[in-house]
């Protein structure tokens, strides 16, 4: 029942906020709902896995992990959003706020849906819920971004549906159901060729939502044009839901003895995504698009770690958390810088550390964190992934990844340094924005969490991670 509440709560809140008349007070629904959701989440995660509606809703270990991450991210973003919307009085938020809440509900549904079809429905729903968020700014550019997001995303999802059908057909038989547990149980009897085709379609489909190259093309546009808070939620939350979907299918493939093939596919996608991200991050002048490509890169790292197996699985799950939190810090501080300079091109943005000290500094450290510098969290997970590659004797993979990471560091760094260092550019003088409590604290908090994960992983969290890793390591 708890899970139902988890899903229903945001919907109710959405309805409530839609009913709200006042533009000023409507956003206040967000933090309330978010905190409530967080509390429920913590309860649900610690509660023994109770399945509802004939096992359609249940929390498997990776699901718990994603749900936790999601809820925390949303809480951070909710508080930020209140502050943010105060700065965007000129735009109506009566679509924005409910859609944010719908996003929360649908993604929560993804994390706890144990049915192949239901999961697809949830993912598709989350896509639709986010489209209006991207269109928040009401500019031609934002329309274009939304259009591309919708079209590419929906096509991808459609392929995922086809893939789900293939998988269903592969497992067709007496009293077969599409519950993951049943699929897992029947895995050995599935027909190989259907399964392979299904996996390809599912990876491409959900990979589109996740933003793996070459299906990543919507990402820079959407992240670039959407408000920073939406970018944070997409990069830190939605992508991970898609990753969760892929992981669940991957587990079934492993059980079916197709692990070899599936892992190969994942590693390939991972490397390709990192490479593509590297290419487009070099000389990137729009810092929000840069963050989008960085997200592509890290999605690549996630599937790469998953594909390498062994300790790589743990690493990739850990990296999911690290990347999510760091992305929030980056996107939100980037949004503040965007406000302060009223531009997201490094041609106008100079000396952010002098203009908005807090956001500028957080952005710089977020850059160090996301590029895998200790003592921040991503270093640990990236180090684990690389050393797993070495341990698995995939020296070329490891070497390639390291090389690409260097290229990415150089590409990203040149942009970031140009933004934060030096004396403030004239563009910075025109605006009146200054870091406030609501726009500052959540950002700092997320970076603090990243730092914490780098130095010490709390024991309960570590147990969650280990549990999830064990859950996924079940090969044939």
């Amino acid at each position: 029942m708890l899970l139902v509440c988890l899903i229903a709560l945001p919907i109710l809140a959405a309805g409530l906020s839609a009913a709200f008349a006042s533009e000023r007070h409507r956003p206040l629904v967000l933090p309330v709902a978010a905190v409530a959701h967080l509390v429920l989440t913590l309860v649900a995660i610690n509660a023994s896995s109770s399945s509802v509606i004939g096992g359609w809703l249940a929390l498997d270990p990776p699901g718990r992990l994603v749900l936790l991450l999601l809820s925390v991210l949303f809480a951070l973003c909710a508080f930020y959003a209140v502050g943010y919307l105060r700065h965007r009085r000129e735009l109506s938020n009566r679509v924005f706020v409910p859609c944010l809440l719908l996003f929360l509900s649908t993604t929560t549904l993804v994390t706890c849906s144990q049915h192949l079809g239901l999961m697809w429905v949830a993912v598709e729903a989350s896509t639709l819920a986010t489209a209006p968020l991207i269109y928040f700014n009401r500019t031609p550019r934002s329309i274009e971004a939304t259009w591309k997001y919708l079209l590419v995303g929906s096509v991808g999802i459609a392929l995922a549906l086809l893939g789900s059908f293939f998988l269903a057909y592969a497992s067709l038989g007496e009293n077969s159901s599409l519950l993951f547990s049943d699929l897992f149980a029947r895995a050995q009897h599935m027909s190989r060729s259907w399964l392979q085709a299904a996996f390809v379609l599912l990876v491409v489909g959900y990979g589109t939502k996740m933003g793996l190259a070459p299906m990543h093309t919507w990402k820079p546009d959407a992240y670039g044009e959407a408000p920073g808070v939406v970018g944070a939620l997409l990069a830190g939350g939605l992508t991970n839901c898609a990753f969760l979907a892929i992981v669940r299918v991957f587990r079934i493939c492993q059980a079916a003895g197709e692990g070899e093939y599936a892992a190969g596919l994942l590693v390939g996608f991972g490397l390709f995504s990192i490479a593509v991200a590297a290419v487009f991050m070099v000389g990137q002048r729009d810092f929000k698009r840069m963050l989008a490509y960085s997200s592509v890169e890290h999605m690549g790292l996630l599937v790469l770690g998953m594909g390498l197996g062994g300790s790589g699985i743990f690493a990739s799950l850990l990296h999911m958390l690290n990347n999510g939190l760091t992305k929030v810090a980056l996107f939100l501080s980037a949004a503040n810088i965007h406000r302060a300079f009223d531009s997201k091109s490094i041609d106008d943005v100079r000396g952010a550390m002098r203009r908005v000290p807090l956001s500028g500094t957080i952005f710089l450290f977020g850059f160090f964190a996301i590029t895998g510098s200790p003592p921040f969290g991503p270093f640990i997970s990236e180090f684990l992934i690389v050393s797993r590659a070495f341990a698995a004797d995939r020296y070329l993979v490891a070497g390639g990844v390291l090389l690409l990471l260097l290229v990415i560091f150089m590409g990203m760094g040149r942009t970031v340094m140009a933004m934060v260092q030096g004396t403030t550019s004239p563009a910075g003088e025109r605006t009146s924005y200054h870091d406030g409590l609501l726009t500052g604290v959540p950002v700092a908090l997320s970076l603090a969490l990243v730092l914490l994960l780098g130095l010490h992983i709390p024991v309960p969290l570590e147990n969650l991670l280990r549990e999830a890793a064990r859950f996924l390591e079940t090969g044939p």
Partner: protein, 659 residues
Amino acid sequence: MIPSSLAIELASALCIAFSGAPGLLRRSGATGQAIATALNGAGSALGLAGLYLLARSGEPETALIGLLPVGRVSFALDALSALFLIPILVISALGSIYGSSYWRQREHPANGRGLRFWWGIMTASMMAVVLADDAVLFLVAWEVMALAAFFLICTEDEQPEVRRASWIYLVATHAGTLCLIAFFSLLGHAQGSFSLWPRLPDEAPSWLPTALFALGITGFGFKAGLIPLHVWLPGAHANAPSHVSALLSGVLLKVGIYGVVRVCGLLAAPPAWWGGVLIGLGVLSGVLGIALAMAQQDVKRLLAYSSIENIGIVVIGVGLASLGRSLGLAELVTLGLGGALFHVLSHSLMKPLLFLSAGSLLHATGTRQISALGGLARTMPKTFALFAVGALAICGLPPLNGFVSELLLFVGLLRAAVLDGASDWAWVALAAPALALIGALAAATFVKVMGIAFSGAARTQAAARAHDPGLGMLAPMFALASGCILIGLVPDIAIALLRGALATWGPRRTAATPSLEALVSLNWISAGGVLLIAGAVLIAAAFRRRLSQHPTVVTWDCGYAAPTPRMQYVDSSFSDTLVGLFHWVVRSRQTPVKLAGPFPVATRFQITVPDAALDHIVLPLLRGADRSLSRLRVLQRGPVQMYLLYVLFAVVALLLVAR
């Protein structure tokens, strides 16, 4: 339970780490500055005391304090780490004292507090690096050190030149770190745990040590500034505040050397060619480094290149020691490593001394251009005297400390020519002439600096008005200078510090490693130094009356009676011949001067010296890569149809593969 001296070291590290923190809290950092200096000094004193305790007991100490998400927070303190701790502690303390008057909070309200904060962090992280006993902890400390150094270098990030230098540094250090990540992953994979500095198991595959060696030398070489990995070094040293340059050159590079030494220690008997390669690299860095230094016109860049040269000398020593280990010749190990470590110590005395005096020169005149100075020997005599000491020391001339280390290395290299065990490797003795060349070039370089920047008449108003800095800046320099002289005259002091480190490093086959004293009679060195000074004093005494009171005239200029300061010889013409000899690597660009007509108009003549590796190899390479990458950007050209096509292609291709 943490053993005593290790605990003290960690305490001092903490004390130093947060020395700058109190200053961050209060807006007016004047008191914060005092606190920072005090804490830093106290921490260093504490640390040195701890080292003394360790020397008393002589037992290496280890302690496991906690756990990281991966790896452990565990430290180990052995003779080698202790040796490298000494310069860290000393230079950090002296530097912060110097900085408290060189970088006054009043004069630098914007960046003073940040500078002191990162100074503390950097010192502590360097201590952590040499103390770390776990790969992950090492990497964490290493990167924190690198980032702290970055923030120190870009203290004045409003200047584009500073931003450029700090950016190049950042990329270089990150490349190094990535190499180290690969290195430690392989190492951990080979031995099954991330505990550090193991002797590799013998059943390790044959390619593994080679790979480790390559990765390690590259990774640590970036930090140490080995040519051609030195690209970041000159710019960073030139553009950082001078006491930061002193810390970088005096200590940070040495941390890189620490890594190199550890890497060579991985195998009980490394392949002989490791030694050969290291000696080759060392000679390369030494000769090219000093050749590039010779060509510089910016005094701090010059000092930076000379640091590259000295790192080269150290690496020659390490290579010799490694050769000795593989051939089982304890003598070479003692002489090579002894020379190397001695040079580490003495260079970490004299190079900071030089940088600090360059700092006070910059402070007094506001320029780093050698050719814009002159006459400072009379306007700021104390600084000049201290600089002269540093210059003599760094040229390896008796009776100062530089000479001792070079002597040890010379003896070691020459021994390689005669020892029976080394008959196949006798040719490494040819590194001795190279070392001699390095020394001579260094002499030429520093004669140039002394002569052009300090001697003669002032070329500019700024130089004429210059004056010695206050005690706050002079005292640390004086301490360093007296250290140089002391170690030069009484080498036994430093040798005593080396003994433990040498003992840990001997080859396994031979039983006892001979002590340095047995191989080179240090007494004669001391005696020689004393006699030299005594002789000079005696002769001076013979003519003291006429030396003290005498008529003065203008400098004889071949009958030209009215010489002006502008007519003096300048640095670029001084070094022209030698730079010409190294034209194949030092390609100095000259702006051509066009003089036309009977009365040509005033014109400018300028010489710029681009870096051999950075400006001729690395940057063009990167630009090329940039261009070719930007060609690929058409893939994201906008039409959504194109994007959908990508998806279709992905599906079809993969489905066909799957079948």
